[in-house]
């Protein structure tokens, strides 16, 4: 999994956003700026979130895992954004209820169905209240990167 980008350039802290769309645009725009995804990734990810919400209530901090079709992606990347204040996302598989999301793990995947172990490890983080609380209060991007890489098994 060494080919998955996860470094300081895609870890965003103190993100100010009033709506989920604003938050998604900020995170996706950064991926465009880093030349990791195509420009079309931005509208695609916002549209996908509207159609298939990705908010996940957890025992700690609610997270969202926005992602979209592989055709918009140049390089496989996991981007993390820590929001200054939680923003409501609709809950995955539930069109009526929202959850206050403070951690956005934006997945830019460049091939379908091939990253099972990476994704399973990511979901393990979501089930780990201590880690989520640690990340949401952490300002040092390198510390966050090192923790995530260790947890996800990325070298």
């Amino acid at each position: 999994m060494s080919d998955c980008v996860l470094d300081e350039s895609v870890i965003l802290t103190d993100i100010e956003a009033k709506t989920k769309e604003q938050a998604l645009e900020t995170v996706a725009q950064n991926l465009v700026d880093q030349n990791l995804v195509k420009k079309s990734f931005i509208p695609a990810i916002i549209q996908r979130e509207a159609e298939y919400p990705t908010g996940l209530p957890t025992n700690g901090v609610s997270v969202a895992i926005p992602h979209t079709d592989v055709k918009h992606v140049k390089t496989k990347t996991i981007s993390l954004a820590i929001l200054k204040h939680p923003v409501d996302f609709f809950i995955m598989g539930d069109g009526n209820n929202t959850t206050p999301v403070q951690l956005i793990f934006m997945l830019a995947m460049n091939e379908p169905n091939s990253q099972l172990s990476l994704l399973q490890k990511l979901m393990q983080i979501f089930q780990d209240e201590k880690t989520l609380t640690y990340i949401v209060n952490q300002k040092n991007k390198t510390d966050i990167k090192n923790l995530l890489k260790k947890k996800l098994g990325i070298t």
Partner: protein, 94 residues
């Protein structure tokens, strides 16, 4: 018991269905059940109306389907996982 065909679907067919797919494989293996898993986007369910026995999904389903539908969000959040596992196993053993 006939081999069941199980659709595993999420919005994009990329991320969450991959995790759910892995979870169902594990359930099937542990219980010695032979199962035919098909990982798709939720929009593709229509093409499997005649052949599938069960749909396990993390996406919203607005339509009625001729087979049972199980929500599998718990595999992502860890909340209620055992219940979902049991629901799936019950359907596989029918």
């Amino acid at each position: 018991m006939a081999k069941k065909t199980v659709l595993v679907a999420c919005g994009a067919g990329i991320a969450t269905s991959t995790v759910v797919n892995g979870a169902i494989e594990e359930i099937a293996r542990k219980n010695n059940i032979d199962v035919n898993l098909i990982q798709i986007k939720i929009a593709e369910v229509e093409s499997y109306l005649d052949t599938a026995d069960l749909l396990v999904t993390t996406a919203m389903t607005k339509k009625e389907y001729p087979f049972p539908v199980i929500n599998a969000r718990s595999f992502l959040t860890g909340i209620g996982t055992e219940e979902t596992r049991k629901q799936i196993l019950d359907e596989l053993e029918k």
